[in-house]
């Protein structure tokens, strides 16, 4: 079973089984420069990852719990930590974004919930 676990200083949430596709996008922080001969050189800073996942349907409680992680990063001033053991992603600080909320039933269920997790570093507190 492939689980997605989010953690912040408030709580830990294990979300329902991941659906496919789970998209991983490599982010290359670099610049190519061209010399007078037309050859390229790359100044490379780092490589990061971004994961995009869509749950077709989430219950209201699961959605609210997920949404709370998104909101807390802007009130606690710290990013949540993402863990997906299956892909050896363990407590990676991520900048989290979430798409529009589409409620599809009277129980508050939400459909097509897309979250984006952009790998980043947690700035050291007190530095």
């Amino acid at each position: 079973m492939i689980e997605l676990i989010l953690t912040d200083s408030t709580t830990t949430l294990t979300l329902p089984i991941l659906e496919v596709p789970l998209t991983e996008i490599p982010i290359e922080k670099s610049t190519d420069v061209e010399n007078l001969l037309g050859d390229v050189k790359t100044y490379f800073v780092t490589q990061k990852r971004q994961w995009v996942h869509t749950w077709s349907y989430l219950s209201q409680s699961n959605y609210d719990a997920l949404r709370a992680f998104y909101d807390r990063q802007l009130t606690l001033f710290e990013y949540p930590l993402l863990t997906i053991d299956y892909y050896t992603i363990t407590n990676v600080p991520v900048r989290m974004t979430i798409n529009q909320k589409d409620i599809y039933n009277n129980c508050g269920g939400v459909k097509d919930v897309q979250v984006t997790f952009r790998e980043t570093a947690q700035l050291p507190q007190g530095s």
């Binding site: 010399n35 007078l36 007190g126």
Partner: protein
């Protein structure tokens, strides 16, 4: 050029170059007591060892501050340094923008460093490849940070030498036959620095008389010294103060730029031709022992109260190298004073408990041991003054072929650190040698080499630009996933000036003195 490792050079020259940097600040300006002295061959570059030992003067303590890392917050860093033409008292500057979404650098925000968000915070900036960072800048912030929309904090910083420029010297400087470096050492010593903090060429210019009173601005002294020397004074990337004399001989290029590591190259139109040198200076000459001050009865006479002391300040017309302490009783060969009982003008006594000579001022500490008032009614102070002896030097040297070709381009030097015609020759001839021919300046954007330093000789081989060039400006920027470096270089002919006991007669060295 800073020394680097083979690994560093390999990363620099590779197809894919992993750039890295480090940025540190000391907001509380606390000292690290664990820092020890830097020992060549045993200390680690960028480690905590410093190049200077401890003492109580904070201005030279840049190595000893406890710096906290802010590397992860850096959005961009820009730093630059340059040499001015034809002499330079230069300073480097840096701009650093940091991430501030948590208001960490915002004043009055309740930040942990709130009370320390102030001007003049020490910073260190390093850059390199794959964690092999080398020093780039050591300085202090000029003002509090500029906060933009609570998202970023931008600091502007100047190097530590700039701070020295604004400071007054604290004690009189009085020297004879001093070279430029000797005067610099005297000033640096006043600021609490030790020889390990500076690397100085031996000055070519010898100054017969050096006189500076306390509160004289050090920056003005540095500028006059460098002008008379045609030298360069700057703080390098590691925090070392450096002085190059006018000869500053370099034998070979330290690095090559060609089409493989140049992104852009262009001439900037500056040529900086000098084909005429005018030097104006007042000449002082040390005189024989003679009266330098006279206190006359009824004029400047003064009273000392019973069992009291009095400080008497004398303003001397000319600076003196020596002054003899006055003794009681008239004399025709040395300093003297006379004292009278004020009430009846009968001869009396007073003692001098101390004197202080500060070039143009002489202070005497009198004491009256009597139970009645005493008047110091006459006094003559003898010393050896350095007087302006004639109308001074009005010197001109030209290079006629250059004038014929480019028109007269005059450099005027008004500087009393030049005291003889031979000194003028020594100064003017190398200037004309170096600057009377066309020497184009180039601006290059290159594959970054953080080890480059001002005054490095570079060999450039790009189309019509072939030969040795001197590096006179370095501009670096690290940000937006990129590391850029722009250089300004000036065409340079490498020659050694003739030096006694080391150059061969009829050899290739140029006779400069």
């Amino acid at each position: 050029m800073q020394l680097t490792t083979t690994e560093f050079d390999t990363l620099r020259d590779g197809n894919v170059t992993p750039i890295s940097w480090a940025y540190r600040m000391s907001f509380d300006k606390a000292y690290d007591d664990n820092v020890s002295f830097f020992t060549l061959d045993s200390s680690v570059l960028d480690g905590i060892d410093v190049l200077a030992p401890d003492n109580n003067d904070p201005i030279q303590q840049w190595d000893k501050y406890t710096y906290a890392p802010y590397t992860d917050r850096v959005i961009y860093m820009e730093w630059s340094r340059e040499l001015e033409f034809p002499f330079s008292v230069s300073s480097a500057m840096a701009d650093i923008q940091l991430e501030n979404t948590d208001n960490y650098f915002t004043p009055n925000s309740g930040s942990l460093i709130d009370q320390y968000i102030l001007p003049k915070r020490p910073i260190r900036l390093l850059a390199g490849f794959n964690g092999l960072n080398i020093p780039q800048f050591v300085g202090i912030t000029e003002k509090s940070p500029v906060i933009e929309d609570h998202k970023t904090a931008t600091f502007h910083a100047l190097d530590f030498l700039s701070e020295l420029y604004t400071m007054p010297i604290t004690e009189t400087i009085s020297m004879q036959d001093a070279t430029t470096d000797e005067v610099l050492v005297e000033i640096f010593t006043q600021f609490g620095m030790l020889p390990s903090q500076y690397t100085l060429d031996t000055g070519i210019n010898v100054i017969p008389f050096v006189f500076f009173d306390p509160d004289t601005n050090a920056g003005g002294i540095f500028r006059d010294l460098m002008e008379a020397e045609m030298g360069n004074l700057w703080l390098d990337e590691t925090g070392q103060i450096r002085f190059n004399n006018r000869y500053n001989t370099v034998n070979a290029a330290v690095y090559t730029f060609d089409k493989t590591n140049v992104l852009d190259i262009r001439g900037n139109g500056d040529t900086n031709i000098i084909n005429a040198v005018k030097i104006n200076a007042d000449i002082r000459e040390l005189q024989v022992f003679q009266p330098v001050y006279t206190l006359t009865t009824g004029g400047t006479a003064f009273i000392i109260e019973p069992n009291s002391s009095k400080v008497f300040n004398i303003s001397l017309t000319d600076p003196c190298t020596t002054v003899t302490t006055p003794t009681l009783g008239l004399s025709s060969v040395t300093s003297w004073f006379t004292a009278l009982k004020t009430s009846d003008s009968t001869a009396s006594t007073a003692t001098i408990t101390g004197v202080s000579l500060k070039t143009n001022s002489y202070t005497i500490f009198f004491s009256n041991p009597n139970v009645f008032q005493v008047t110091i009614d006459a006094m003559e102070v003898w010393g050896t003054p350095a007087k302006v002896i004639d109308k001074g030097i009005r010197y001109k040297e030209i290079n006629q072929p250059s004038i014929d070709k480019y028109g007269e381009q005059v450099l005027v030097i008004d500087n009393n650190f030049i005291q003889s015609t031979s000194q003028c020759d020594s100064l003017a001839i190398p200037i004309l040698q170096s600057y009377s021919i066309y020497a184009g300046q180039l601006e290059l954007e290159v594959h970054v080499n953080p080890a480059l330093q001002l005054n490095d000789i570079l060999y450039i081989d790009v189309d019509d630009y072939v030969g040795e060039y001197r590096l006179i400006r370095i501009q670096n920027r690290l940000g937006d996933n990129n590391f850029t470096q722009k250089l300004t270089v000036v065409d340079t002919e490498i020659f050694n000036f003739f030096q006694l006991d080391s150059s061969l007669l009829d050899g290739p060295d140029v006779l400069g003195i």
